[in-house]
C-alpha cells in the first residue's frame, strides 16, 4: 500500500496520518498541493485535516481547486482510494468527489472532544478490520462538520449503504444528544458509490497509540493495508 499524503497551505494533520499509515505498514510519500501528478504507483491519496487556506471563502473550497486535485479526481475515477479526513472531507465535497456540504456546526462552536462512532459496514476497503455495527471511540475537532445534502441525496446514501460512520453514544445508540454538530442522520462519514472514496469528519489517525488515548483508529489504516489490526 503506497499512500500519497497531500499537504495544502494550512494542513496540519499530515504528520499524524502519515504516522498512522506507516504504523499499519504503508509506504508514505508527502505531496505538495501545487504538484500536478501523484507519485507513480500511488494506491491511496489522503487529504488530511487542518485549515487549508485559512478556511477562506468556504472550508475546503480553495484547496479543492488546487493542481493536485485534478490528479486526485483522475485517481478516484480509476477506482483508486481517496481518504478525506476532517478538512479533507470538506475538500472532497467541494471537489465534487462526494455529495453534500459540511456547514457550520449547529451550535456554532468549535468542537474538540472524544466521540463514539458506529461502523455502519465492515465490507469496505476502509473498515474490514472492524465489525459491522462496532462502536469505536475516536475524536472530533472541527467548527464546520454539519453534514447536509438534499433529501434525494440523503435517501440515495442511505438506500445504497453509503453512510460509513454515524455519531453515537458509548452504547452505539445513534441519538440527537450524541450528534456533535447537527449532521443529518448523525452522518460522520460517507463513501462514494464504488466505496473507493471515503470522507469523514472524525480523526481515526489520532487514536493509534494507547499512550495518547486509545487505538480504535488503527482499524482503518490496518484495513487499508489489508491486514487485521493487532
Amino acid at each position: 500500500m503506497k499512500a500519497a499524503v497531500i499537504t495544502f497551505p494550512g494542513s496540519n494533520r499530515e504528520g499524524d496520518v502519515a504516522k498512522a499509515l506507516k504504523q499499519a505498514g504503508a509506504t508514505v510519500e508527502h505531496v505538495w498541493h501545487a504538484d500536478t501528478a501523484l507519485p507513480a504507483g500511488t494506491d491511496l491519496v489522503v487529504l488530511p485535516g487542518g485549515f487549508s487556506y485559512g478556511d477562506y471563502l468556504r472550508t475546503g473550497a480553495i484547496a479543492a481547486r488546487a493542481n493536485i486535485m485534478d490528479a486526485t479526481r483522475a485517481h478516484a475515477e480509476r477506482g483508486g482510494y481517496v481518504l478525506g479526513i476532517c478538512n479533507g472531507f470538506q475538500i472532497v465535497c467541494e471537489a465534487g468527489l462526494l455529495p453534500g456540504v459540511l456547514r457550520r456546526n449547529a451550535n456554532l462552536k468549535f468542537i474538540c472532544r472524544r466521540q463514539h462512532l458506529t461502523v455502519e459496514r465492515a465490507d469496505t476497503p476502509y473498515t474490514s478490520s472492524y465489525a459491522k455495527g462496532e462502536v469505536i471511540d475516536v475524536c472530533v475537532a472541527h467548527g464546520e462538520g454539519n453534514y447536509i445534502a438534499d433529501e434525494e441525496t440523503i435517501a440515495r446514501l442511505e438506500g445504497e449503504g453509503l453512510v460509513a460512520f454515524r455519531y453515537a453514544d458509548a452504547a452505539g445508540k445513534v441519538t440527537d444528544a450524541a450528534n456533535p454538530n447537527g449532521s443529518l442522520n448523525n452522518i460522520a462519514g460517507i463513501y462514494s458509490p464504488k466505496l473507493n472514496v471515503l470522507g469523514l469528519m472524525p480523526h481515526p489517525e489520532n487514536l493509534i497509540d494507547s499512550l495518547t488515548g486509545g487505538t480504535d483508529g488503527r482499524g482503518m489504516f490496518a484495513s487499508l493495508v489489508g491486514k487485521k489490526a493487532a
Binding site: 471563502l57 480553495i62 481547486r65 453534500g100 456547514r103 456546526n105 449547529a106 456554532l108 447536509i148
Partner: protein
C-alpha cells in the same frame, strides 16, 4: 469596470450564523425582524469594458469557485 457578486444561501438551507445574528439583533431590542440570513458580497474590478464578456467570466467564477451551488445562489451585477 466594476462588478458585484452576491452569494446567498438557498431557501431551506439552515443558517446557524444567521440565526445567531438574528438572536443578537433581537437582544439589542431591534424590533420587527422576522429572520436574518447571512451571505457574501464580492466587489470585483474588471480589466475590460466588455459587459457581455464580463458577465460570462463572472458566471464562470461563481460556478467554479465563488458559490457552492449545492447550497448557494449567486447574483452578478455589472456596474459602469
Amino acid at each position: 469596470m466594476k462588478a458585484r457578486v452576491t452569494v446567498t444561501l438557498k431557501t431551506g438551507v439552515l443558517d446557524p450564523q444567521g440565526k445567531a445574528i438574528e438572536g443578537a439583533l433581537k437582544s439589542l431590542g431591534i424590533d420587527g425582524l422576522s429572520s436574518v440570513r447571512q451571505g457574501k458580497v464580492f466587489d470585483i474590478e474588471l480589466n475590460s469594458a466588455d459587459k457581455a464578456a464580463a458577465e460570462t467570466a463572472l458566471k464562470d467564477a461563481c460556478e467554479k469557485l465563488l458559490a457552492n451551488t449545492v447550497i448557494e445562489n449567486y447574483r452578478v451585477e455589472i456596474g459602469g
